[in-house]
Symmetry: C2
Subunit: 269 residues, 2 copies
């Protein structure tokens, strides 16, 4: 079955973090429609076992395929790290992009000295997915990884420029910076909100790789290459679906998206 | 149907935090058998909606009633705050204790000046359950509440005595301490692990109320009053059931329990 160029792009995450990818897509591809799916009833995925993450990811991919999307974007590092193949197996001819692939490509393309740092949640870092992918692209790279479990709660607390966050960042980044990295991959969709603070802690000589921006760029390139972008004059439609509407979802979501969320649909499974 | 005094006590939480209550029970009631149920596949409850929390709580209560427990202990402040009645409705003649009731009773009994602080997760604090219960017990009390969303991730990171945790505690406790409270209720089962640091930040004039200890005390009082304790010479059996076995569960669990967890059963629903 041919893919419909007017169809929306499906973006999904375990919670609210993938809205940073939606924000980057809205800016880079303002004519495209987007369906965002956040599995807020079961967030966070990062502390769950691999079989559980695979099972949940398959459910979400099937749900978005049922909505007739023209592209699937895995905007969750945990799902991308452990279940990207599960999504591809269910997507058929629909292309699947993910934040790890996009971030790894951009980091490798942009490194000046061949030393790259990666920060993320414990599950993403323990999966070694960024380092593995970057080494496939260039085996000579040196990759230094660091789990930063407190960054997500600090972002959700809104302490984006707070002494506690700075002290935490200094502690987490110390070993990576000691290796003289020239690039630092923000391997979690929450981290773009800490970009200013992280740049200040890392110093101006370190290039931050924002995987929300690099994913939006990869999506734009695919649409152009396959002639699948919506024509000029198209009016985009945005839909936000979640499995639960928790306390503060609206507030936190709008901070991530950088604009009003509008109507949010609760999906009952 | 008569309750069997040899039956285990059922203790449940959304995750690992309730193990601080199990630890206190093991120390206070060393002859009693315990079944612990942690809903690790769906943790944390604190960011979910009330209907979702009620639904999950009912499932767990039914599961433990099916295991033939002689007492149910809600060792999760979120479930105690929003779904204690759900548990009681399903427990029949089996007594239901919870950390909020036990903590509120102990705080009111021990206050010297009538000014009590309560700290907890955002859901527990927003529920106002501690303040409401304490005001029922003594309408003249002044209760000052503060949500501390970063304490759980800091405990799980193991930063129990770390400058970041101290700075965070100073910021969270400042408004409560400014009110001159004489007691501070630790309204989250993770917080007993921060007791030394919190005592140091609050100062020696503030009495910390550890709801794990007060719950174990309430359980002991009920068993004595109803003549339902196991006889001397009984050998306790401990069972730990979880809905998922995530990364680091064993490590974090044993830190909470203060001893080896032994075998952990994964329950598939």
């Amino acid at each position: 079955m041919a893919i419909d160029r007017a169809a929306p792009i499906g973006v999904f995450d375990s919670g609210v973090g993938g809205l940073t990818v939606v924000r980057a897509l809205m800016e880079r591809l303002p004519l495209e429609s987007i369906i965002y799916f956040g599995d807020t009833a079961r967030v966070p995925y990062g502390i769950k076992s691999v079989p559980t993450i695979e099972h949940y990811t398959a459910q979400i991919a099937d749900h978005l395929m049922g909505a007739g999307v023209k592209m699937l974007i895995v905007a969750c590092n945990t799902m991308a790290a452990v279940a990207a193949d599960v999504v591809k197996a269910r997507a058929g001819d629909v292309p699947v992009l993910d934040v790890i692939e996009a971030g790894a490509q951009a980091a490798v393309a942009g490194t000046s000295g061949g030393a790259i740092g990666v920060i993320g949640t414990p599950t993403t870092i323990n999966s070694n997915a960024y380092a593995r992918r970057m080494h496939e692209l260039d085996p000579s790279l040196r990759v230094y990884s660091q789990a930063c479990p407190l960054f997500v709660p600090l972002v959700e607390e809104g302490w984006l420029d707070h002494p506690v966050t700075r002290l935490t960042a200094e502690e987490y980044l110390r070993p990576v910076l000691a290796e003289g990295v020239d690039s630092l991959v923000l391997g979690c969709t929450h981290y773009p909100l800490l970009k200013a603070l992280l740049q200040s802690v890392a110093g101006p000589q370190v290039r931050l790789v924002d995987s929300a921006l690099t994913t939006a760029q990869a999506a734009a390139e695919w649409l152009a290459r396959e002639d699948m972008a919506r024509p000029s004059g198209s009016v985009p439609a945005y839909r936000f679906q979640v499995t639960d509407i928790p306390l503060r979802f609206q507030t936190i979501g709008e901070r991530f998206l950088g604009r009003s969320l509008g109507a949010i649909d609760k999906v009952d499974w």
